[in-house]
Every structure is written in structure tokens, then in C-alpha cells.
Symmetry: C2
Subunit: 301 residues, 2 copies
Amino acid sequence: MSLLVTGSIGIDTVETPFGKRDDVLGGSAIYFSYAASFFTPVRLVGVVGDDAPKFVFDVFNGREVDASGLEVRKGSKTFRWHGSYVKDMNEAQTVEVDLNVLAERAPKIPQNFLDSRYVFLANTHPVLQQEMASSLKSAKLIVADTMNLWIQTERPELVKMLGKIHGLVLNDGEARLLTGEKNLIVAAKTVLGMGPKFVVIKKGEHGSMLVTSTGDVFVLPAYPADNVIDPTGAGDSFAGGMMGYLSTQASLSTSTIRRAMAFGTVVASHTIADFSLAGLQAANREEIDARYDAFKSAISF
Amino acid sequence: MSLLVTGSIGIDTVETPFGKRDDVLGGSAIYFSYAASFFTPVRLVGVVGDDAPKFVFDVFNGREVDASGLEVRKGSKTFRWHGSYVKDMNEAQTVEVDLNVLAERAPKIPQNFLDSRYVFLANTHPVLQQEMASSLKSAKLIVADTMNLWIQTERPELVKMLGKIHGLVLNDGEARLLTGEKNLIVAAKTVLGMGPKFVVIKKGEHGSMLVTSTGDVFVLPAYPADNVIDPTGAGDSFAGGMMGYLSTQASLSTSTIRRAMAFGTVVASHTIADFSLAGLQAANREEIDARYDAFKSAISF
């Protein structure tokens, strides 16, 4: 089924204990699209400047990603992020960030994308997220991400946005900041009171948690990886794998969402095994399915 | 089967965001014994001073805990610990600690305990742990805990101790300190190289992990509890539930250890629901079994 994602496309400089990469491909929509495309065709909406390197346009060659929603804006510059995981592999320290084109008007959703049934609104201004949620009238499932910045500066708009979506994906620190609750289950239940039918809390190397309005609580460790090179994009890959799998399923029951989170976890474990997109590019669907089975075994008792 | 534990018995003062309790029962051997006694009879070896309050001797009334290895040493004072979880529910800040009788000679293992088949050596000086491991010649399974202090000050003796036991239980920070490895799977494998057949790494609210010399890797989230009042004793209760269950099983296969860790997780979830021993005292085996099933459901996909 048609899965649309809108989010950032960026040029990253990343430092981890295992090395440094300058000017490599990054951004939430890139990781999400690549991860989701293991499961289903993806429609990408995003914007770059006219300085965007060729690899931005080549990355989805041979993959089922429709990048006709990728706008190249003349006179603008592509989003850039420089982060470091040298001190803490579980939390990036931002060295420098240049919003560039992301600080301008949002990219337009192409007419032929407006019938999308599954939608992921990666982290951006909650007013933009509201507009997109409202314009995608055929959507069966809209899931959004957010970040500290909007929780702190745009809370009323963020809360309005929560009333227009079905699911929210956010990390543990964001869940605590949004709700003022330290306990993550209590925090998730508080978020449910703001509108969404389910909340997925990402805990980095500690896994993830699902709480639904029907009372389901699901906890999942991270995939036990002994080879973590670069955590950049893990959360977006998790969301991509999750939404990609969900888009292929007839029902949106909590057991479907549970399996989707497990696939997201497995896809993210490929992402972090190398810098930038290299981990995902080295993976294939057969390996993902095999690792899904191994993951299931690794948490069974 | 006979399960022996030796560890601390203390009088705690504990502060959490939910209140403060002065002079309540605590200590690794107390939490461990109570937790294990849901599964199997326990033999307790420990020492208190002649100032020990009556509740130290009353706590196991009606439970299958043989406290004939509990020495009351004249002229000595009972171990005291004052800790605070006000800033961080996942890590205690020690406000004050008085080792008192724990800084003196170890308690003696009673003659009729020497045939114990299952042994848990809670955290103490690694030379004492070695002596106990050597004197318990009938032991089929010896598992030990340790702490930062011994890793930093008694590493050679600690490494010798690791050569005399079957399993080590330690927390994530201790595993990293002991091995110099940040990745916990790599750290666990490094510990296996020092002697034990299996390593269990406790990650507090983030669950636990098992790595065995046969190559098994098992990851387990914590029980999703929305009511955490006092984390004191969670790790010792986990170990108690784990060893208590293991003592009832004919085989020590990795699947048995996995189930034992799940029982340990569930017992610990009762401990943290109230101050001191009150959470465990409010539980019973039927509730533990029901929560074990609920836990299994909460992590299944």
C-alpha cells in the first residue's frame, strides 16, 4: 500500500569512536525511505538546495522509492548536520547545525501522492505536520515524530497536531519532557490522552515500548548488536521498518504493530552497523527476515 | 534443592521521590532470601551486630528460610546504608554507609549448610567469595555478584574468584568497568574469558542480558511497571528469583536460565512497588506466576 514520508534530507558530518565521515548522506526522510523500501514502495516528500550532491539523487536507484516529491529549490542550501557520538553512543551531541532550506517553506506534496494510505510525518514544525495531516485525506494511518525543540517552543501547536494523527513515535527524553512524567508508561498514557491511538517510545540501545489506547503495553529490547559503528538514523530506520511493514498488513491490530516494531528494530540494527546509509545498503530483505527470526529467539523464554 | 546465600544484612534509610523511610530492613542477603523463598527453601548466611532490631529476625517468620547461619556478633554494630533515588530512580546515590560488622571477619557457614547444591555469593570481598566457593564442595551451581569497589581495588583477587564460579551477575556499569568494553555483549564475552560459564548483566529499568560460553545471547526488558516506589533491592531480588527458580530445575540449560531470569524480573517488579521488603511481603507465588505469564505476553510478537 502507498506509504508517504515527509522529513529532512541532509548532508551529515558524523564522528563516533570508530571514525569520522564528512559530508555523507543523512536526514530522517532518507533513512526512513530506505528502511521502509525493504517492505513496500515509498513516496518521498522533501526539499534540498541546488547545492545537493549527486548521491542524494542516486541513493534510491534500483529501489522502490518514488522521489518525485523531492524538490530542488534554486538559490537555497541543503540542510546540514554535524554530530558526535564520541562521548556517548546513545546520544548525539550536535556540533553544528545549518537548517538552510528546512527553515524555508515546506515542500509541496505532489498531486499524485495525495491518495496515500499510510503516512509518516518525520520531525518538523507541528504546524506543517498539521497541514500535511489535513491534506492527506485518504490516509488510513498517520504517524508522526517530534523533537524537544517543538515540545519546548510550540507545545499548543504540537498538542493540536496530536489530535490529528493516529500514532506518535518519540524518544524517552521527549516523552518525559512532553508530559512531565518520569515513568515511561505513565508518560505514554498521558500522551494517549492528547489524541493518538498509540504511542511508541524509542529508548535507543535500550529498545522501545508501545502503549495503546486499548490498554496494550509491549516492551521490546534493542537487537543485541555487538557491532555498533554509527547510531545516526537508527530511530528513523526503526520508524521506516515499522511503517514499511505496517503498510503491507491488512489490519492495524496491536499484534501487527508489535511485529512492525520488531521489524523496525531489526532494520535499525543494520543501519548502526556502518556509517551513513552503508549499513542499510549492505542489507537485503532475506537478511532482515533471518535477523527477525534470530531476534525473536534472542528474547524468547 | 538446597540454595545457600551469603551477603549483607543491613538497616537502610532510603529516600525516593515518593518519600523517605528511616531504619528499615535491607541488605542483599535479605532481599535475595525473601525473593528466592517463593520458589525453594533458602539457607541464609550473614552477620549482624548485637544492635540488630527485632524485625531482622522476624522477617522470615512463616517462610522457608533457614536463618541458622545468621550470626549475631556481640560488641559489633549492624551494617547501615543511607541512599537516595531522588535524583535518579535508576541509580542510588549513597548518602552515608557504615560497614560496621561487614568490615570484620566473615560469618561462618554452618556445618549442615556445607552440602548446599546451589550457592549465591552476594557482593563482598572477592577473597571471601573464593573461600566460600572452595568450602562449598557439593555445589552444582555457584553464582556471584560483585561491585565497583572490588573491580577497582581487588582486580587480581576478583579475577581469581571468577575462575571458581559458574555464573556472574553484575550491572552494566560494573561490566564496562571490569572489561573496559563499552558494548555490553563484548563486555560479557570478555568476562566469560575469565572463567564463568555465563554472565548476567543487570541494566536496572532497562532489563537484563545473558551471555553464555555456549554462545547464547538473551535479552530481556524490565517488567513494564507503572508503579515504581523504591528500587532498593531490585537487583538482589532479581538474583533471588533467578536462583530460586534455578534450584528447582533439573537442568541448567540456557533455556532454564532464560526462564529463571524472567522469574527474577517478575519478583523484582514486586520489590520496587513499595519501600523495603513491603513489596515482596505483599506478593505470593500465585501472583508471581500470573505476572510471569503477563510478562511473557508483554514481550511477545
